[in-house]
């Protein structure tokens, strides 16, 4: 049997080589099907990886607590509109929940920032020092401000890459420079490393961080001292996130004296929630891909069946001769199945190459990130083989059931 299979594969290759154009056209459906799957999965996975990087850029195991609520209908001030969260909430959270490794807070406003003769309108964040640790901000030069800066409401600032580019000439040293925010002079003590886009699509590097106390007392002019724009918390383990969220909810509801029938006056979000939205998007994409791939592979399979039926008719006499010298039905069946699978496998291989090339081209031309998926390649490959087997079965069976005398007499 091994000798038979080997020689049959060789024969199949020779027949395909002889009918190159016909074989090529037949394979086209499979090539397009497999190529589309691989290219699209690569693009989809690239997009997903980019999103995951964005989600990760939030920091590790971060919980964001925003004032106000988005879950209840009726006229509301919008998320973050209410001033229900305070510094004291943050301190209390850390005390109550052992799962929280750290808590921080931030308040933001868009302000005019001036450096010499250049100015820029951008977000200014008053934050606790712990906020920088929770969000995993790193520095290209300098470093974070300290608890002492916080207590003394020092006029020190950290600057993001985008803001830096807009306020300073190329090559100009930002470290130690003085900028003015709402006419208050600030010393730059740290330049932040770039983080890129957030999961919501905003530029995270367009930012200035100053100590929360300084912001409250000297820049924003808050009505309620200690009220924050958002609270941040982190856990050591990502598995602790759901439980930590429940701790936070219970603590805040108790502190805010919310009755059992009252809705939360805050919203808690984790990276997991943000990731879920993205997952929904990529699932839609996957379903679409599956539809495209199924249709192309179906069309490709019909093409293979068609060409094999032609081949069986053309080679009726040959089949008769093979039967006369002792080929059993299984031999004839195997021969045509191997031809079908060779066609679809070649189509699959070319499709893989086309798919990878297509993905690379997308990266070069459109600038989209792509990731070649080995799983997708293997699946597409196995699928094309299955298509060959399935659609080859009918013509192969037709050949195997020929009557040897009639086949020999066929002209």
């Amino acid at each position: 049997m091994p000798a038979f299979v080997l020689l049959t594969v060789m024969t199949a290759l020779r027949i395909l080589h002889r009918n190159r154009l016909r074989a090529g056209l037949t394979m086209l459906g499979i090539v397009i099907g497999v190529g589309a799957v691989i290219a699209m999965v690569s693009i989809g996975q690239g997009a997903r990886a980019a999103v995951q990087a964005q989600v990760a850029s939030m920091g590790t195991n971060v919980i964001v607590i925003m004032p106000g609520s988005t879950t209840v209908s009726g006229v509301r001030g919008g998320q973050g509109g209410a001033v229900t969260l305070t510094i004291n909430d943050a301190a209390e959270l850390k005390k109550r929940s052992p799962l929280l490794s750290d808590t921080g807070w931030a308040k933001r406003d868009v302000m005019q920032i001036v450096n010499g003769n250049r100015n820029w309108n951008g977000p200014v964040n008053g934050v606790s020092p712990s906020y920088l640790t929770i969000r995993d901000w790193s520095f290209t030069s300098g470093g974070p401000f300290t608890q002492a800066d916080m207590e003394s409401a020092a006029r020190v600032a950290l600057i993001g890459q985008t803001t830096l580019e807009n306020l300073f000439d190329p090559g100009e040293e930002a470290m130690g420079a003085t900028i003015r925010i709402k006419n208050v002079p600030f010393h730059i003590v740290g330049v932040l490393a770039p983080k890129g886009q957030s999961a919501q699509g905003t530029d995270q590097d367009d930012v200035i961080f100053i100590p929360f106390t300084t912001a409250e007392r000297k820049v924003f002019g808050s009505q309620f001292l200690g009220s924050v724009g958002a609270l941040f918390a982190s856990t050591e383990q990502s598995a602790d996130l759901p439980e930590a969220v429940e701790h936070i909810r219970e603590t805040l509801r108790a502190r805010h004296r919310l009755g059992p029938d009252q809705a939360d006056d805050f919203t808690i979000r984790t990276q997991v929630d943000i990731g879920k939205v993205q997952e929904g998007t990529s699932q839609t994409l996957t379903v679409m891909l599956f539809a495209i791939a199924s249709v192309s592979l179906l069309v490709g399979g019909i093409g293979i069946m068609n060409i094999l039926l032609v081949s069986v008719t053309e080679r009726t006499k040959e089949i008769g001769v093979r039967m006369a010298v002792g080929a059993k039905r299984i031999h004839i069946l195997t021969q045509f199945l191997i031809e079908a699978m060779t066609l679809s496998l070649f189509g699959g291989m070319i499709g893989v190459i086309v798919g990878i090339a297509g993905a690379q081209l997308t990266t070069v031309i459109a600038g989209w990130p792509t990731m070649i998926s080995v799983d997708a390649i293997l699946t597409a490959f196995l699928f094309s083989l299955a298509v060959g087997l399935f659609f080859g079965l009918y013509p192969a069976n037709k050949a195997a059931r020929l009557n040897p005398i009639e086949a020999l007499r066929y002209e």
């Binding site: 000798a3 038979f4 040959e318 001769v321 006369a324 059993k328 299984i330 020999l408």
Partner: protein, 236 residues
């Protein structure tokens, strides 16, 4: 020992629409090992149908056919294929070589289906080609060979599996006189030197002259069965 071929009241009836057309009407025939039989008759006399039955390509509607002691009248298709592969060799009028496939590979074909190793297939096929005088032509395609050479490839293919019977259906029908004589000389040699039973269908008396026994068919029956000394110089 049982005769190689034993037919008892063999019938083949074709059904065309509602009409039954008997192609063979009660054939009784015994052929022993080593015989060289010529089957003659006009077209439509049933000689091709008889060949197909004896060659295990078809099965009788009625009656018994014993091949080498084995009743094959009701055998399954796979057993028939196996018998064709091991016991029988065919030589056809129009050669029936597989196109664009080398002489060697054509000659290998029966061994290919027997599951012999590729090396052994090649060795035996090359030996068979040598026996029919085609050494050195192993890699030629059928289209590159003359009619006589193509028929010799077909004979090599028929005898590569060391069959006990060789069926030749008008083997010289498409050949000129010189080639015909070459082919008949090879068949005659295979019969006399190697003891292969040969059953030859022809309508040419001088080709039939090579045989030691002559059957004449008419209307699906054997009407004449004579044994005689072959006159070897028939085609001079």
């Amino acid at each position: 020992m049982a005769p190689l071929i034993l037919c008892e009241d063999l019938w083949k009836i074709y059904r065309i629409g509602d009409v039954e057309v008997p192609a063979l009407r009660g054939i009784n025939l015994t052929i022993d090992r080593g015989e060289f039989v010529a089957v003659m008759g006009t077209s439509g006399s049933g000689k091709s149908t008889l060949m197909n039955l004896l060659g295990c390509l078809d099965q009788p509607s009625r009656g018994r056919y014993h091949l080498d002691g084995l009743d094959v009248s009701t055998a399954k298709p796979d057993l028939l294929a196996d018998l064709r592969n091991r016991q029988i060799g065919f030589v056809f009028q129009n050669f029936n070589l597989i196109p664009r496939t080398s002489a060697l590979e054509n000659a290998q074909l029966p061994l290919f289906y027997r599951g012999v190793s590729i090396k052994e297939q090649r060795r035996q096929a090359a030996a068979a080609l040598q026996r029919v005088g085609l050494a050195g032509r192993e890699q030629h395609y059928p289209a590159q060979l003359s009619g006589g050479q193509q028929q010799r490839v077909a004979i090599a293919r028929a005898l590569v599996g060391a069959p006990s019977i060789l069926f030749a259906d008008e083997p010289t029908g498409n050949l000129d006189t010189a080639s015909s004589r070459e082919i008949m000389d090879i068949l005659e040699h295979l019969n006399r030197e190697d003891g292969i039973t040969i059953i030859l269908v022809t309508h040419e008396p001088d080709i039939a002259g090579y045989a030691s026994r002559e059957l004449v068919m008419k209307d699906g029956q054997i009407v004449q069965d004579v044994r005689r000394a072959p006159h070897l110089s028939a085609v001079t």
